[in-house]
């Protein structure tokens, strides 16, 4: 069965708001992959590989390494597919959460002397955010995310992007922003909640 990327299912607007990207077809593919169905896994791969690779590129900043991470993630998806529980969240979220963890593990493992780079990371995130936010050729989902990030106050946005895209721990974020660690944890929680509410309202 070749169902491509499942875009034909995007017309399902009766799904709850904010879950328009939760493709039930992908959940089914992952459940079948968990039963050892390699064809279903190939369908899942095709639907998600560009997003996994995009995330890996953003975090590890090196195409060859990002591809290694992507390969590693996809094989891990296969290996641990039986642990996926559809009731606990969509397949896409499950795969991207795993991908983010692997990408962060990769940058942390090579991050000797990171402290020196913290301030550079702050500048880089400010700059790349400004650049990306201006791009017009983005998917609707991306547009919503960027708009919601823009609407976040800088003090809430920076901890999110430094942790998520740079792979910094909350303590490193605290150091980079000269802010107490407890405050950073609190802002991460608050920032994600605002982002969630905004994405729900806008999608």
């Amino acid at each position: 069965m070749d169902r491509g990327t499942g875009s034909q299912r995007k017309g399902d607007t009766q799904g709850r708001r904010g879950e328009s990207t939760d493709d039930p077809g992908l959940d089914q593919l992952l459940v079948r992959a968990a039963d050892g169905d390699e064809e279903a896994f190939a369908g899942l791969y095709e639907a998600l590989v560009d997003t996994v690779m995009g995330l890996a590129c953003r975090v590890v900043r090196d195409k060859a390494q990002a591809e290694e991470v992507t390969q590693d993630v996809m094989v891990e998806v296969w290996r641990t597919a039986k642990q996926f529980q559809p009731a606990r969240g969509a397949a896409r979220n499950w795969v991207l959460t795993l991908a983010h963890r692997r990408a962060v593990d990769r940058v942390r493992s090579v991050a000797a002397g990171r402290a020196r780079e913290l301030r550079a990371a702050v500048r880089e995130q400010e700059r790349s955010f400004d650049t990306v936010a201006e791009e017009v050729e983005v998917r609707e989902e991306q547009r919503v995310v960027f708009r919601c990030l823009t609407e976040l106050a800088r003090e809430l946005r920076l901890p999110l992007v430094l942790a998520y895209y740079e792979g910094l721990t909350y303590a490193e974020v605290a150091e980079a922003l000269s802010t107490p660690p407890g405050t950073i944890k609190s802002r991460m929680r608050q920032g994600l909640k605002r982002l969630y509410d905004c994405m729900e309202a806008g999608s």
């Binding site: 990207t21 968990a34 896994f41 190939a42 791969y45 590989v49 560009d50 690779m53 995009g54 995330l55 590129c57 953003r58 195409k63 591809e67 992507t70 390969q71 996809m74 094989v75 891990e76 296969w78 290996r79 641990t80 597919a81 039986k82 642990q83 606990r88 969240g89 896409r92 979220n93 991207l96 959460t97 983010h100 963890r101 593990d105 990306v132 989902e141 991306q142 919503v144 995310v145 960027f146 999110l160 992007v161 942790a163 998520y164 895209y165 792979g167 721990t169 909350y170 974020v173 660690p181 407890g182 950073i184 944890k185 609190s186 991460m188 929680r189 994600l192 982002l195 969630y196 994405m199």
Partner: protein, 93 residues
Amino acid sequence: MNLTDDPHLDVGAYVLHALPAAEEAAFENHLASCLPCRLEAEQLSKAAVGLGAAETSAPSADLRRRVLDQIATVRQVPPDAFASRSRRRRQGV
């Protein structure tokens, strides 16, 4: 009075994978016994996934074949929650 002593406070950092390994393990223990925390973590992780899906990039064309070749040799683990994580942790990663 230390804010960092409130385990609920860690949920955002946890979802962003921004807790060091020891604190992450402690928070996962807390999650196991805190339903509201699990629900909040699931909700916040949707926002994090939004950040993760912000860009796409096509890998080289032969990655698909490499992955499909590789999975043919990889055995799937049983549906044991957190099994792969705790295994990773025991290895000290």
